[in-house]
């Protein structure tokens, strides 16, 4: 249903060139080149501290990159005269810690961005919100406040909120790692369904099984650089780089 949206001319939804990011003297991202194609599902894996979250946060400018370019629709959005807020509406973000608006109920969480940022009418916004709340299976909980929901439900609402903005690409930063094992399943199920609809998705995850199953491309990061990328088959079954091999060995058994 989302695949049918607008006609995009570019094959790359976003293209990142020579991206770097330092915190003080600590260089966290080093000369990253990377792009996401339309309709593609990309999973980013790598050990803790390798810069996965920072990459995602740089892409939607929650962190200001120290260098490089982020090209969206042919323009470098790091130029000063670019409307950042407009660009951000094109990228939906799902956080590890949900970050639902605590003061708003489920429905309003999915509406507020539409009416205030996209300037949709209230009834349009409600229809869109209900549509995506149905997708995540939470259309019956619209009056609940975030604190009344379980973690899995919260994360599904967060996905619906991101979808309601009808973005070009959805970014996920470890969407299941704050969840109880039983709730992981329900969120991954929703994400699998979304991946099946042709939505463009960029997912940072520790769930290797899930990554293997849904992704068109897997990116392995280590110490601020992209060490290796390729199909799940390539990365998981035939890793080339020593670091990739070591990482996969570590995570697949404890």
């Amino acid at each position: 249903m989302i695949a049918s949206k607008g006609d995009r001319l570019m094959k790359n939804v976003i293209e990142i060139q020579h991206l770097s990011k330092s915190f003080g003297t600590h260089e966290v991202l080093k000369d990253i080149d990377f792009s996401v194609n339309k309709g593609e599902v990309v999973c980013v894996i790598g050990s803790s501290g390798s810069g996965k979250s920072t990459l995602l946060r740089c892409i939607n400018l929650l962190e200001r990159p120290s260098g490089g370019q982020i090209v969206y629709q042919g323009e470098n959005i790091l130029d000063n005269n670019h409307n950042i807020n407009n660009y951000r509406t094109k990228l939906g973000m799902v956080f590890q810690s949900f970050n639902l608006f605590n003061n708003l109920n489920v429905l309003t969480n999915c509406i507020v961005g539409q009416t205030k940022v996209l300037k949709r009418s209230k009834s349009d916004a409600e229809n869109v919100a209900m549509k995506y709340l149905k997708v995540v299976g939470l259309d019956r909980y619209i009056n609940a406040k975030p604190h009344q929901l379980s973690g899995g439900q919260k994360q599904r609402v967060a996905i619906a909120r991101a979808l309601s903005m009808e973005p070009d690409v959805l970014l996920f930063d470890e969407p299941t790692s704050a969840l109880d094992p039983e709730m992981v399943g329900e969120v991954l199920k929703v994400m699998k369904e979304l991946a099946g609809t042709g939505l463009t998705m960029l997912i940072v995850t520790h769930e290797m099984e899930f990554a293997r199953e849904v992704s068109d491309r897997v990116v392995f990061m280590d110490k601020g650089v992209i060490v290796e990328e390729g199909s799940p088959e390539q990365i998981f079954n035939h890793p080339q780089n020593e670091r990739t091999k070591a990482f996969l060995k570590r995570t697949f058994k404890q």
Partner: protein, 247 residues
């Protein structure tokens, strides 16, 4: 101190006491409300993200410095002096003839605003960073983030501190009699000056102060409870009943 005296003072002067209490409540309430608004505005302005360079950065820095001076000055000097300077100083220097009650509310408001600015700052800091990020991530600008997401949560957090401020204002209006506002403290002084019964007169006033602060505290506690919603989380079974409203 004698009960007879207290009763006779209360019955003979109840109108003066009540009018004084009313004036106290008026000034304290409006002063607190406007002060809270000032504090919230400063909170919004203070947290505007500063670009790394450029004119906007300089302007923002300048505004923050000015607001810092405002807060420092009004927190740092006694309200009685502020009242004198504002009321008499404005008249002397610019020939402005302010209404006394207006001046009183104005002074309490800017004074409270300075305190509230600090309280709001603390409140904004205590809101989870994720709330800001989530709002930014859907493209909200600073103003929208603040109005729709952050401030509603800040308001809940700062309610207790605001209540303290309100209670203090009820008592601190007493210094405003230097600009001729006849609030409860001044009225009581008149009564005790007339009847030469200091303790008895102030006993009556204290009862009124206690009633006012007690009622204000209770009202604010009620609001806190209401804003918190039900303390125990609802069971899913119950929650599903909300569906009736929609869909």
């Amino acid at each position: 101190m004698s009960i007879d005296w207290i009763i006779s003072i209360a019955t003979e002067n109840w109108e003066m006491f009540l009018r004084g209490a009313w004036m106290t409540l008026l000034i304290a309430t409006l002063g607190t409300v406007f002060g809270a608004i000032i504090g919230l505005l400063i909170g919004i302005i203070n947290t505007i993200p500063k670009p790394e360079r450029g004119l906007k950065r300089i302007v923002l820095k300048l505004i923050n410095i000015i607001l810092g001076i405002y807060v420092g000055f009004f927190r740092g000097t006694p309200m009685i002096v502020q009242a004198m300077v504002v009321f008499y100083g404005a008249a002397q220097a610019f020939g402005v003839d302010m209404d006394r009650t207006f001046a009183a509310i104005f002074i309490v408001a800017i004074n409270t605003g300075a305190y509230m600015a600090e309280i709001v700052r603390g409140g904004i800091i205590s809101v989870d960073k994720g709330q800001f990020e989530a709002a930014q991530a859907i493209g909200m600008n600073h103003w929208q983030t603040m109005i729709h997401v952050v401030l509603p949560q800040v308001l809940r957090n700062i309610l207790p501190a605001t209540g303290n401020q309100f209670v203090m204002n009820i008592k601190d209006t007493s210094v405003l009699n230097v600009i001729g506002v006849t609030e409860l403290y001044f009225q009581t002084k008149s009564v005790s000056g007339n009847n030469f019964r200091y303790f008895e007169s102030f006993f009556v006033a204290c009862i009124l102060y206690l009633i006012m602060t007690f009622v204000v505290t209770k009202i604010l506690h009620y609001f806190e409870k209401r804003l918190d919603g039900p303390q125990n989380y609802q069971m899913i079974d119950d929650l599903e009943q909300v569906e009736g409203k929609k869909a």
